[in-house]
Every structure is written in C-alpha cells, then in structure tokens.
Subunit: 447 residues, 2 copies
C-alpha cells in the first residue's frame, strides 16, 4: 500500500492532514524513530520495494517539520511525539535516534507495549543488551540489533546464529570506518594524521568532533556487542582499554612498511580459561599487521570482523560497515528476520552469558616502539639497558635517514613480551631525558 | 542426558542392547543418517557440549557394524534401517549421506512425518531446493542446509537472512577447497597440476576420483544454491558452463605473476535485467585475479564467498569451507536455528524466486590467452590477424625465456571483449597449424 502511493504528489505543508491507509492483510506495520541518514535510507529502501511486506505508518523526529520530505507516502504520519509511535498498533518499532537516553526508555516501552524492536543503537546495546533481551523474551517479542555493529556486514547474525554450533574464543577486526579511512589515507599518501582527519571530515567520513572514533570508543561499543554475541561474555565498555590513533604519524607507516606491515585500528577480545576461571583480554588500539593479512586489505571506510572458533577456525566477514544504505540493509534484514521467524519460540533456550573473572588489555606479542629523540650518543644503550633489565629482547633497530637531529625518529622492535613487563620498562624509558615526545608503542599482530 | 553418559565405559560389541534414556524436558530429539567424516564430527561436537539442548537417539549407516565407535553414548541406537529413524519420535532428521537417491526420498519422508530436516547435501539442494522448501512449509517444519555450501562459513544465513534487506545482483568466489589447495600449491611451489593433485590426494584434500572438484561440478552445485538463496533465481546446474582447472600449468602462474595476478577457480553468477527480462551469466572456471584482491588471499583449502548488493555493496565471507569439524559447526548451527526459531511463522512470506529468461556463461572481460607452439616466424602475425578481424585488441604479449622451440609457451592478453567474439576467434586461431596444445583462455577478473 505504502509503496503504491509513491507516485502521489504529496503536500509537505504542516497543514497536511495525514490519511491513514488500511494495510493489506499480510503487511507488518512499522514505526520509525529518527529520520537522519540511516532513517532516510531505511524509508527509501522500504519504498523502493513494490512488494514490501512492511507498511510504515509513523516517522518520529524532533523538530519534525524541517525533516519532512515529499517522497515519503502521504499515508505516513510525521510526528514529534514519541507516544504516537508507542501507542500505535504497529508490530515493530525501529529506533534510530541513538544515545542511551531516552532511546532506552522508548525501546523498553515499545517491548512492553507488545512491539518487536529493531535498533542500530550501539551505545545502548553495548550497555544494556542482556537486560533488553530479557525484557523482549518476557514480552514474547523480538529485539534485533544487526545494524548496531558494522552496518551492512551481517556479523551479528553470522556469529550469533551461523556459528552458534562453534565455541568462539576470539573476536577481532577493524570496526571503525572513520579510523580506517584515516589510516589507509596516511598509508597511501604519506599524509599526516591531522590532514587525513581533515579530509575525512570534508568527505563526511568523520564528525566535527571525532573523539568517539579516534579514541576508539565507537569500536569498543561494537567489540562489547560482538563479545556478548560471539564469546557469550558480559563485558562493560569501561573495562576495555583504548589507545587513540592520533599518535600514529606518517613516519610509522614508513617504518611499518620496512617490517612488511601496515597499521590498522584493531579491536580484539580473547577468551582465556585458566584453572577453570574465564578471563577476557581486550583492547582497541592501533597495531601493526602484516601487509599480506586480510586486515591490511580493508580499505577506506570498510570494516572487517574475524571470529575464531574451536572447531571451524577463523571466519572473516567484511564489507561496508557504515553509511546510510548499508546500515539500512541491516535494519531491513532485521525486519525480515522478525517477519520470517515470528515471536521467539517458547522452546528457545537463551544462550548463557558468563561474566569473566577479569577483563584487561594485557597482551603478549612482539611490539613496535617508536622514539623521537634529540640525538646524542648513548641513546640506544640507555634503552637497551632498561629492556634487558626486564628480560625483553630487541629484535631489530631501524633508523631512516633524512630527519633532523633535534627530532630524530627511530624504531625498536621487540621479541614477544608481556604488556605488563613492557609497560614497566616503558615507564623507566620515558623518564630518560632525550625524548622529544613519549614513546609510541604498538603490538605487532601476526594473525 | 546424552552428554552426561560420555564418561561411561561403553561396550561396542554388536550384542550391546541399547538402552533408551528418557530425555530431559527441554531437549530436542535428533537422529542422524550418515556416520562419515562430517557425521562423526557432528556427534563429537554434540557430545562435547555438556549443556547441549539436543539428544541424539539414532545413527543410521549402511553396514553399521563397522562404523560403531565406543565414544558414542550407550543410549544412541545404531541401525542400518532408515525406517528406524523416520518412524522415531525425533524432532529433527540430519541427512549426511549425500547424493540424490535415496537421500531425497528420506528427506521428503522425514518432513511428511513431521520432522524438521538439516542436510549438508549440495547435489540434492541444488537440484530440489524449491520443491523441498515448499514441502517443508506445507508440513510446518524447517529445512536447513547451511552445511551444503562452504562448510563452516555462514554464507547461506549471511546472504539469505543477514542481507535479505538488500537486492543482491552478483555472487562470486572460491567455492571448492580441493581446487584451491591445488592452485595455491602450484602458485607457491611451481608444481605441475598433476603433482599438486597427487599431494592433495595424499593429504586427504582430494578424492581418488577428483572429477567433481577439478571439473568444477562441486563448485557449480554450491553456486546454484547461493544463486537461489541470494539472487532469488532458479538455475539448473546443467545450465552453468564449467571449465576444468587441469589445463592450468605451472607456466601460467609465472605469466600471471608478471601481470600482477594469480589464478583461482572462480564461481560467478550475475543477474542482469534488460528490457524487463532477467538473465543470469554464470560460470565456474579458472581465472586470473589481481594478487592484491581478497580472492588471491584465499589460501589452501579455504573458501571465500562474495555477495554484491544494490545498497550494501560487496560483502565478503571467508573461512574453512570444508572438513569434518567446520561442516559440523554448520550442521549444529542449523540445529540451534530450528531450536531458537521453532516452526516457520504462519506470517512468513516465502521469498519469490524467478526463473531467468536465459542462463549462459557469456562474459565480457579482459582475457588471458596462453599458447604452446612449435616456434616459427609469423605466429604472432597470424594470431593478431584473426583477432583484428573480430575487433579484439591485444593488450600485451609476454614470452619468457628458457623454453624449447618445439613447445614454446607465450601469452597474449586482450583488452575487454565479449566471450562470444572471443570464442569465434579462438575457433579460427586453434585451426592454425603451429599449436602444440589448444589455446588456454582465462578471463582476468578485476573485482
């Protein structure tokens, strides 16, 4: 019905009285909160499909008047009162407003009102997945959040359902398209972090305030969701340490290349069981990866999710992890999932989710240390002495020509060591007096 | 229950009287036909999970006595009479025997007897997916075949459900682990096809009769299934042309490398709509791919599935596409899907599947031609004359030193041309008298 009205010349004046069209017998009624980039794409995709089994009845947005567009069917009611959606007879509530409040309350109310919920809200799902899933089960309704992680990549369903027969013990990958755009731009053109960020902002790949992306908070929320979906562990965002990509400089790509590597923002969570106690090692940080690895091939704003299981080994999912249309595909796929599968089976056993004894960013790996120093004799000896005291072996020292003696970059790569040991040695090394800036430390991830 | 009996010392003598253990209240009863590599892994994974919500009651195999193992719980009944499974009170019938007959009949009988079905049978699903899905719907039961394509890679669920909101127009990838093992071995070591095949056979990656793999028939069945699941088109295996990988020689890898490429067995199906008529271009054949592409990074027996949609762009799934444990993960994931989702929702709209007006292997691309000739003056002029007559432009000619004049390999790469035009010109070229073997022709796939 909705789709057929597409060609109607719709008035967009605020005086337009919306007319409710009676839905066809089989259509599921849906309401949408949030008409931003993703919301617009969702509505466009719904309208594009002449045989859509869904009928959109309401669109909510703050200051809705400035959001109205003339290509949305006349039958859709625009509103800035969320209660119009929550009290409607819709089957499914789509939440695309983002943020914890009031989105979380709206989702709770929608579930209690007997609506299934589809959301792309990673902050909220990262914080409240278990609670909201419990509420959905108790309400006999579905909560789907495929769009909350990696946009168009069906990572959640792939991991949670397609690999439910495995026991996953590691989730890793490139989860933030903005950082990946910046790093691949620096890699390809030798640009500085600042100019790559500026270009990302101009092209709409980064927000005016890029903190969430650059500091790793966005990727961390996705890691928390994937850890729960795949590793079946309850981790809180604040338990996972993040390192910003802003400390990576053009010279690091030059040195990485000499090591057969490049640099990516890597999110990683690993489940470890020792003496019957389960712990999680997790971080979001820039890291060196071999240029021959799949992660190194994730270009521009794409994402990649790797899941490693006890039985099926490593699975990789990659594609466009953000943007209006790819994220809208995830939202609409979730609508189809609800349509196809109906309410949760009473038979359905909820997957047990454990709370780890400990969550930390400790990570045993070879490491890359980049120094910028005021050159003088004895620097390498000073660093080597400290490392030796902590039992850490140097693998290689590289120093490229062409830099001033007053701010000379060089690197040291270390053989596999624990991050605890390395951290202690770096505290001492950073206290030495020749540094122009603090040592940049990145793990070298070989798989 | 089944899992708890794991530690019992079970007698394996044929005189053992199986004792039926009363299932726990929530367990779904399952029966398994086919105790080969995958069947054994399925049972192992079920037993490994102490909290499994499934209870295995029967295992069927021909000559079952020689199949019995002592690590299967005492409560499981071994049988060589399929009716023991079909007439049991099991909820789910797992079919892992392979082949069209009698597996198809068993699946039909199981569905009619009110059992959901999980199968890894690609030949059967490629031939009868639509019919069996219809029967399952009419029976109010589920038919799951995630294990029929690419083993542990959740490609079917990823494409059919995770991307259901998109409109896919292209499915492509590396679908056969045996061919990929052989080709990557030739690439890495310079081995001949014959010696790489022999090694694959010795390591258990290829069967004694490798026809199905080498000729492309195995990959083709998977392509048919993915085309139906993703492109929503009904294609028959025999409509898709296959080229064997056995005509690829070590020298082709050397030339490919000079072109920045390597060689993979590529399966591809592309949906094209012209004048409201939909047609499918599809093939399984060895092709050149850039060494920088994701396909080139599929190593050994791994698989890779690419799905390209109108909205979400290109998605990639990769991992272990075969082997007991990865395929068992797909089977068990399908069991969980049935458990979680219960019977198909009455609300569920079956996805319309179209029959294309035409299916053919015609493909417009740059091409690679490899000649082996008895050297004499005028060969290149002869070939160029024919190509020019068909309006085909030569991009490059490469001839490596060090080969005998009596069997001299050289290559010609062509600018983009239609396969129809190329085919006609090759008929003429192959009639020229200097050939030691027929011209090998491979498309160069850039995406």
């Amino acid at each position: 019905m909705a789709a057929k009205s597409k060609k109607l010349k719709t008035k967009t004046s605020s005086k337009t009285k919306p007319v409710k069209v009676k839905p066809g017998p089989k259509k599921l009624k849906i309401v949408l909160a949030g008409f931003g980039t993703v919301g617009r794409s969702v509505v466009k995709l719904l309208i594009d499909d002449a045989n859509s089994p869904f009928e959109l009845t309401h669109i909510f947005n703050r200051n809705v008047e400035r959001k109205k567009v003339d290509w949305v069917p006349y039958s859709v009611r625009w509103t800035e009162d969320i209660d119009d959606l929550l009290s409607s007879d819709a089957d499914i509530f789509i939440e695309l407003t983002g943020g914890i409040d009031p989105a979380g309350d709206w989702i709770r109310k929608a579930l209690c009102a007997g609506k299934s919920v589809v959301t792309a809200n990673k902050q909220l799902i990262a914080e409240s997945m278990a609670e909201l899933q419990k509420l959905a089960r108790e309400s006999g309704k579905r909560l789907e959040f495929g769009a909350s992680v990696a946009g168009g990549i069906p990572a959640i369903i792939g991991i949670q359902e397609g690999l439910s027969g495995d026991r996953l013990n590691r989730i890793a990958g490139v989860f933030n398209g903005t950082c990946n755009f910046i790093l691949t731009k620096m890699e390809a053109t030798g640009a500085s972090f600042e100019s790559a960020l500026k270009e990302a902002q101009e092209l709409g790949f980064a927000e005016a305030d890029p903190t969430n992306d650059v500091e790793g908070y966005d990727a961390r929320a996705k890691l928390v969701i994937l850890a729960q979906a795949g590793l079946r562990v309850q981790v809180r965002s604040e338990q996972i340490p993040c390192w910003p990509i802003s400390s990576v400089e053009a010279v690091d790509f030059a040195y990485a290349r000499e090591l057969g590597c490049t640099i990516r923002q890597i999110s990683l969570a690993k489940k470890e069981i020792e003496d019957d106690a389960m712990s999680i090692r997790a971080f979001v940080r820039p890291a060196l990866v071999p240029t021959s690895s799949l992660v190194a091939h994730v270009e521009g704003s794409k994402n990649l999710v790797m899941a490693t299981g006890q039985y099926a080994g490593q699975m990789v999912f990659s594609g466009f992890g953000a943007g209006g249309d790819p994220t809208a595909v995830a939202v609409i796929s979730d609508l189809y999932s609800i349509l196809r599968n109906g309410p949760p089976s009473p038979n359905s056993v909820s997957v047990p989710v454990d709370t780890p004894k400990e969550v930390n960013g400790a990570f045993t790996a070879p490491y890359y240390l980049r120094f910028v120093v005021k050159d003088r004799p004895g620097i390498l000896a000073g660093v080597a002495t400290v490392l030796t005291r902590y039992g850490i072996s140097i693998d290689a020292v590289l120093q490229r020509p062409g830099y001033p003696h007053s701010a000379l970059p060089f690197i040291i790569t270390l053989e596999t060591c624990t991050s605890a040991n390395l951290g202690r040695s770096l505290q001492e090394i950073n206290r030495l007096e020749f540094h122009v800036e603090p040592v940049l430390c990145m793990p070298i991830l070989m798989d």
